[in-house]
């Protein structure tokens, strides 16, 4: 794989920060965008911008066709059965909020149980907490062991006929753990529970197949897969979505309105209130093309190599402590350095041009569980190189020198 060629597609990667070449290792927060994605958005506004749906004029037709084509690109990318199972949102957080609300209205009653894990992002905890409060349901939490691996035996113990839905990250944004989602889905289905997978951290790193997974709901954000901000996907199985009430109201999601009775449009529009982000959606389509042109399998192979190299080299550093040691891991390196506060380390690395994230990564419960206030997190993308890992290692050593 020609990484230099890939890097060249990302204009921001040639910039400097603090007079040093940018080494961007904050990809779990958001990835950078290739020129093709940036262009897809500007070309949209330069050439066919219009409000979509029900427009008779040509721009509206062009925009609508492009928008619906982009939906089909997503469908193909995740191998969903139907294009109307692909609901467009503004991001993972909105997808999960929509799900928790709408699923909750349709299926959750007092005494029902919802399962999440200890390693979830706040966006996959709090909407369920609030749902449980609203409906007097119970939120059960699957524990994680000291390596950051989901305790599957505990999952099996918690799962019972009251369990209505299991909502788990595909890949943890804090620990890098890849969860055994196929196994989780199969076990949950056996007991009649449905499964939602928070795919925010997975979609740029591993090939997805909704039909093979047989997953009921799946969420992700465009901005974490080389696409623009402000756009995300909520996938759901048709027969489930059909049973769920709309989440927001207005615009294309409405069929008929009168002050005495309002009826709603069919899928996917039922869940898409208001003018959609057409430009963003075309950006997402370009991001999918970028990913598909390289190939998700190629990407995974390369990123795994990079991860292995980084893991090996980092662990040679004295005082380095990896947080998250699952045998199945993806492109996230969370760590602590001696007693150095993550914020201090992040500040020095930033001076060296190295962008890492520090803090609790919106996953406070797992931090509390591990008894740490936060970590330093380097997260990798397809454009990162072993040279950048080497620079990180040097940076870490320099940081340690300064504080010790």
């Amino acid at each position: 794989m020609d990484i230099q060629n890939i890097r060249n597609q990302f204009p921001i990667l040639s910039r400097k920060v603090n007079n040093k070449p940018l080494i961007y290792l904050d990809n779990s927060a958001t990835t950078q965008k290739p020129q093709s994605v940036i262009d897809a958005v500007s070309n949209y506004y330069t050439q066919i911008n219009s409000n979509v749906h029900r427009g008779v004029h040509q721009l509206s037709q062009l925009a609508t066709d492009a928008f619906e084509e982009a939906r089909k690109s997503v469908q193909e990318f995740i191998n969903a059965k139907e294009h109307h199972e692909v609901i467009i949102t503004k991001g993972t957080t909105e997808s999960i909020n929509m799900l928790a609300w709408s699923f909750g209205e349709a299926f959750i009653k007092e005494g029902d149980e919802i399962l999440v894990s200890e390693m979830e992002h706040h966006a996959n905890i709090v909407p369920w907490q609030m749902l449980c409060e609203r409906k007097k349901a119970k939120l059960k939490v699957i524990a994680v062991d000291e390596n950051g691996v989901l305790k599957m035996q505990e999952f099996a113990n918690l799962l019972n006929s009251n369990t209505k839905i299991v909502s788990i990250a595909h890949i943890s944004n804090t620990l890098g753990t890849i969860n055994p989602i196929k196994e989780i889905i199969d076990k949950a289905h056996k007991l009649g529970a449905l499964v939602h997978i928070d795919g925010a951290q997975a979609v740029a790193h591993t090939a997805l197949d909704m039909q093979e997974l047989d997953v009921d709901f799946y969420s992700f954000s465009a901005h974490k897969m080389y696409g623009p901000m402000g756009i995300g996907i909520f996938y759901g199985k048709e027969q489930l979505l059909n049973k769920m009430p709309p989440y927001q109201y207005g615009g294309e999601m409405i069929d008929q309105v009168s002050f005495t009775k309002t009826t709603f449009n069919e899928l996917p529009y039922k869940f898409e209130a208001g003018t959609p982000n057409v430009g963003g959606m075309l950006g997402l389509q370009a991001a999918i093309k970028f990913l598909s042109d390289i190939g998700l399998d190629q990407i995974k192979t390369y990123e795994d190599e990079l991860l292995n190299y980084a893991t090996l080299e980092l662990q040679k550093i004295e005082g380095f402590r990896m947080i998250g040691n699952s045998p199945h891991k993806a492109s996230v390196l969370s760590f602590l350095l001696d007693e150095i506060h993550p914020f201090d380390a992040g500040t020095i690395l930033d001076q060296l041009g190295i962008a890492v994230r520090t803090g609790n990564h919106c996953a406070q419960p797992i931090m509390d569980k591990m008894g740490i206030p936060g970590t330093i997190r380097a997260s990798l993308a397809i454009y990162n190189t072993t040279e950048e890992i080497d620079a990180l290692i040097l940076g870490i050593k320099k940081t340690q020198q300064m504080f010790l």
Binding site: V52, H53, R54, G55, Q61, T64, D65, E68, D255, E266
Partner: protein
């Protein structure tokens, strides 16, 4: 004539027009000529929903062939409906299911059948094919 032959005939008719005005004038004419649908079919049940110009469609089977009648409140839509009925009405279920309506592309009206168009035609064609499937299933 089978669907393809009728399609060819339509393509020839349209080849006479060298500008869009003549073409649309002809469509308007066709719309006005469309056989009036029985009033009883202009109801909620026969309405193709979700569109700006409403389309009503009815179908019946006689001796292995399917006969459609349709209507719309917009004249241009009716014009295209007229062409679709001319091509598909009176054909066998098999032929209706399989036809790709290529002639619409050749006369530059393919766009009007795009599923995102607000005129309801694509839903109408889908409905016609569903009728054909249903009749075929009943027979088989």
């Amino acid at each position: 004539m089978n669907i393809e032959e009728i399609g060819q005939e339509i393509v020839e008719e349209f080849s006479m027009f060298d500008d869009w005005m003549d073409k649309y004038n002809y469509l308007i004419e066709l719309g006005r000529d469309l056989e009036i649908i029985d009033e009883k079919y202009r109801d909620q049940q026969h309405l193709i929903t979700g569109c700006q110009s409403r389309v009503w469609l009815s179908a019946e089977e006689k001796e292995g062939r399917i006969y459609f009648k349709a209507d719309s409140d917009a004249v241009i839509t009716k014009g295209i409906v007229n062409l679709l009925i001319r091509a598909l009405s009176g054909q066998t279920a098999e032929d209706i299911i399989n036809d790709k309506l290529d002639f619409l592309e050749q006369i530059g009206l393919k766009d009007h059948l795009s599923p995102t168009r607000a005129n309801g035609l694509s839903s109408m064609v889908k409905q016609m094919k569903l009728y054909a499937l249903a009749f075929k299933a009943k027979k088989g």
